[in-house]
Amino acid sequence: MDQKELFALEQQCIQECAPPCTAACPVHVDVRAMLAETARGDFSAALKIYQKVVPFPHILSRICDQPCQNVCRRGEIEESIAIRALERAAVNHGELPEEKKRPMPKRSGDIAVIGGGISGLTVAYDLARKGYKISIFEAGNELGGGLWKADRDYLPAEVIREDIEVIYELGVEVDLNTLIDHIHLFELRNAFDAVYIAVGPHASENFELERDEYGIIKVDPITFETSMAGVFAGGGLLWGIEMHSSVTSISEGRRVGISIDRYLQKVSVTASRVNEGPYTSCLYTDISGISPRPLIQMGDPDFGYEWHEAIQEAKRCIQCECMECVKACEYLREFGRYPRRYVREIYNNLSIVKGTRYANTFINSCSLCGLCAEICPENLDMGAVNLKARQTMVAQNRMPSSAHDFGLRDMQFSNSDKFLMVRNAPGTAASDYVLFPGCQLSASSPGHVEQVYSDLREQLSDQQVGLMLGCCGAPANWAGRPDLFESILSAWRTHLQAMGNPKVILPCSSCYQVFQKHLPDVEIISLWDFFDTHGLPAEVTSANRTVSIHDPCSTRYESHIQDGIRHILGRLGYQIEELPRSRERTTCCSYGGMMWLANPNLAEKVVQKRIQEGETDYVTYCAMCRDNFAGRGKRTWHILDLIYNQGSDEQATRRGPNYSQRHDNRARLKRQLLTEIWGETMDGSQPYESIRLNIAEDVQAKLEQRLILVEDIQRVIEYAERTRRKLLNRQTGHYLAYYKPTTVTYWVEYLPIEDGFIIFNAYSHRMEVPGSGSS
């Protein structure tokens, strides 16, 4: 991921876009934050937020024409938030701390402001605070300009005077009763370093500036520069009418201030000036679940909201934000931020040279399920980002082996002689079809695999159906190992070619995804589509029961498979109660992306959340999903349980086999099929495999949790007994031995018995110690 990619990805997440109210506000009051403080009852904090961008808060909070209200999302439900009234409440009920006497910056430059209306006053305010010397020339006998035309009931004279007082406090020189009309502009320009003309609609003919055909002074719409360098113009004179929007005047004054400051600092006046005035927000907010809350009425409209009324009104604010993906994905929620930040953290993690890589766990915890991309209004796919990050980590030799090791070894087992097997139907030299059950269905329900294979051969009796056992390679892909993944894929390619390019029948949707995406030349069909079109293999008895379907996340965009499952269930007599998230919005069971390995605690939350989404029994069509749910007490069937066994209680509650049993089941399946169908025997078992172990149930559970397999223990004992490298505990008489077959060192506490060994304990670590007999 280079910087350009990072920026593009960051841009894709619009969570940090300003909400509509703030975008529409000409001075961009952070309305959302202000209302959050108000809702908490902290009016002073609210006022602080307001005053940060509003120089004359008493005035503006009374007369602002609040363009923000028109776009307030609350308004789409009933009435928009009373934003100006809440600004006034902040002014009325909040208090600003005594402003700390900080040394004023001293920028040098004399600036003339012609016209003491609110836009001129804003320029004076902003630039005086930067240390410039400001002189205001006002034709009337008081500052305020158009403000004096406002309704006095709304805007009493003392409010104007009090708010404007700050101009004098800032040391601005004010010349009242001074009409500038008769002075030539170039004289003024000579006396000052910059000039701002804000004299209202009727600018003097003496200002020798370029004008349009209606006689209005031409200015740059972004910088407000006129045709004369150092002279800026704004306010009513640009429109030729009296200004009515004081917030627009303030906004323009602010932008003029920026221009003059840059002009005097001799930096680019035009560079990166986007969204300074009002604009349309790019934020997405889903308001579909928000219930109506009526506008809070004021007890005393003259005073405005009482504090308790203001709190209630502020609570109506939706606090607009996107966060759609975070709401949907437990993983994104777990780390407390959102993709725009995550992308940046991932980038930092990958580009860091020295120091801690904080995002390793984050990157490896994603299930790569693609739900975020489906949900995001901008289709940002964090799964794809994380997969790429993993590949980069592997390429940099920075991938912690602990993250995926166990899963990769499981895959290796499946693609070793223990399980790997490719056969045409007995007595044939090529296949029209080949069943590829995958590693997990074979581990979880080897009996079903045998059944399906024999039924397929019957259903396709006039064609040749071969069998291919192994792991599709998905874990290598998830682990960010494209080289390893490709070598597995190419093995499948070779095998299939040798079989005469049969059509591959796939029960597992993860395999389906791998074949479809990465072996595009191979013809495939999901077993469920096959059953849907060719008919069910077993006799149908009507179940007349309601179930919910968990679509595996790898079927997200395979609606034909999802349909097939629903048709099959219909034929079996099941009514379907769809889960709130199904089909293209389905969630991962926590097996995807090897989340369960990198972050077991998070995986637990993910499964728990999913099984709590529906009351009825679940049906799914991925063995891992089923085992994950049923293992935590959620009654869940694999669709094959319903097809072949009418959905018995025993099958709904059956815990899946443990990790060692999964290996055994695969190996046994291969041995059995080889003997029964092809009349072959398996040879070449390792010496350690015949070591018999006696493991109590509580020890067994510990091993499972520690990801220690029976075969790991067998290897340690075989090594220790052969080499006599073991320790003896003189208190217990137990032996303790350690051995490191590949990357992990296993320790086993044991005692020999008549026909094997009792296992008392086992643990492991990755750090390498001397004497571990590593090969």
Partner: protein, 65 residues
């Protein structure tokens, strides 16, 4: 006989383990740790709480470095 060095003996050499500095390594980093060790053949003892506690912690730190 409750001191660990009196409890553990090397089965092959038939002598008690003794504390010694042992080099452990992970992800290209090596550092000495005091462990019980057979003075003759070098077999070491890593107790369960060390393997599952401190060692995992250090492994994680090195992985994130």
């Amino acid at each position: 006989m409750s001191e660990p060095e009196q409890v553990w003996i090397c089965d092959n050499c038939n002598i008690p383990l003794q504390p010694d500095k042992v080099d452990v390594a992970y992800m290209g980093n090596a550092f000495p740790v005091e462990l019980l060790k057979c003075p003759n053949c070098g077999l070491v003892f890593i107790p369960e709480d060390l393997a599952l506690g401190k060692m995992v912690e250090v492994e994680k730190q090195l992985e994130d470095k």
